[in-house]
Symmetry: C2
Subunit: 333 residues, 2 copies
Amino acid sequence: MDDRKKKILQAIIEEYINTAEPVSSGSIVNKYGLKLSSATIRNEMAELEKVGYIEKQHTSSGRVPSAKGYRLYVDELLNDNNISLEEIKYIKSKLETRVNEIEELTKITTSTISEITHYTTLAIGPKTNLQNIEDIKFIRLGTRMLMGVILTDSGIVKETMIKFDEDINDEQVETLNFIFNNKLKGKPLEEIDKPLEKYIFSHMNYSLKVIKPIMEQLNKAINDESKIYLEGANKAFDLPEFKSLDMAKNFINVIDQKEIVADLLNTGFANDINVYIGNENENDQLKDFSIITFKHKYKNKDLGTIGIIGPTRMDYSKVISVMKYISKKLNGE
Amino acid sequence: MDDRKKKILQAIIEEYINTAEPVSSGSIVNKYGLKLSSATIRNEMAELEKVGYIEKQHTSSGRVPSAKGYRLYVDELLNDNNISLEEIKYIKSKLETRVNEIEELTKITTSTISEITHYTTLAIGPKTNLQNIEDIKFIRLGTRMLMGVILTDSGIVKETMIKFDEDINDEQVETLNFIFNNKLKGKPLEEIDKPLEKYIFSHMNYSLKVIKPIMEQLNKAINDESKIYLEGANKAFDLPEFKSLDMAKNFINVIDQKEIVADLLNTGFANDINVYIGNENENDQLKDFSIITFKHKYKNKDLGTIGIIGPTRMDYSKVISVMKYISKKLNGE
DNA sequence: TTTAGCAATTAATCTGTTTGACTGCTAAAC
DNA sequence: GTTTAGCAGTCAAACAGATTAATTGCTAAA
């Protein structure tokens, strides 16, 4: 792969991303700084095809990038600083909104990305079971109901309602708060488990009727599949690839299935922007889509993962640039 | 409209709902108990068309019900007890799941309806500002954060996080709990407002720095657009009307816009199953869809509205039957 | 090594034809 | 008076062939 081939590949990919039409040798002459005749480009294209970076749909058609082509483009060729001053200004203003909850920040970030990139954007909260408990409290609502609230060191708040068949009094609530905090503060969330149940049961004289539902609900709350955020599902339908009904149907199917979305957001490395192109995706239902994700953090604390999903013909440069900027910005410049 | 015409109209509509194809005079002979030749049915169809209950797409095509036709069918002709024993059994088992929160019940009901009817199902929580406060409490998390929790008499729980620039101590929290409960218990949610702020400010010596954020967040929490639940968005794409890309795009557009969904769920009468057929919908974007909603209640307490959305060719009989049954079941037989 | 020029290929578009499913109407049957 | 058989008329959908336009690969010249 000499330099000229890479330049031509880049031109093909960028032209295809812009036009969504197979790229002919003639269409990139005099664009992208290529001072070559269409015949020469044709010769180079034939070789690029031989090594699998581009593909033809039929004998006389223009070329379309393959997953392998996009991969090279993403790894070596694209401009990852493709972001305008206006966009930076807009993102800044959005991210500086004062929020009281991590959830809100995630929501804002998700919708901002969707607005700027025009792609469907997804987000999921962080895996909580590795986080540490910073505070755990119970609060009585009415006579037979408790709300359990857990604050983790990442600032995530988990809450759950617990109903009882008998009345609860304030003294009991206070004891619960005392015991749970003493026993669990600073420990990882997953420590809320059976052993504790036995401990409470042997150290307090509450009936199992009270303790059982508490433990059940707390465990449910922390193991709860995190909430999934979705912004701009309709944006996909403006793209020409969604003219195909199959594609559209597949897309809705994917974003409608929480497990698939959770899966795709939960793979990938912590400190990177992760790009999965077409058939690089493990899940067969995703093989026509590309997905770009990153874990967003605030002062190095995991806040979850945000990702965009779109056709393989995606503006990788723009998306990656925006994510890079936001990631940096969230983590404090 | 004599009886025979109604029978024929019913036959046309039910055949169309089943097949999604324009209904010819021949296709309903010997079905639906009609012992007439196709010629007679043709004559009747011509008259039904003249009064606007059915329509032709071109001279030699079969007939398709109009919105007016569906309306008559829904009001007078359909079987609203179109529900099988298996379905009843399934619904029962689902609704008997023990839940700790209203939210959960809404989720379960929504997904059950979607599973049984095969239509996209939407839900929204009740308008909270008319509900009464049953309990209102603050709980300290860490040193500079409060969680405010409001329980209403319908069992709805609203919570909000409040951050401060200075430390909060337990004594302050206790006073807050005392004052808010004393002042607001039994009152409608909308009473949480400016006058209270002044009262607290004059009766306690907390700085405005503490009280301001509390009032702000509480107001935000109660005025928050209720969460919208969505189940089975992908189900729509199995229907033949969604072969049309325009239709599909419109559909996604509608369910993606929270305001439209909130609007369509918030119209309609409290004690009824509300049916909006095609152009009966006020919103232009909904004119190709039909919507059926009902307010679900538990022991006469408003729990919000559940609705399904689909093409005008919808199985009104099944949907209405299922909703009737569920509505009755939730409200305690 | 590059390029001009040209035959070959193919999808997309267009055009005309056939087919099949209906209807509406007429006249006969009930 | 009502119902029905039968048939001409209509139209969309399916099909088949011809045309067009885009683009390639290859050859031979620059």
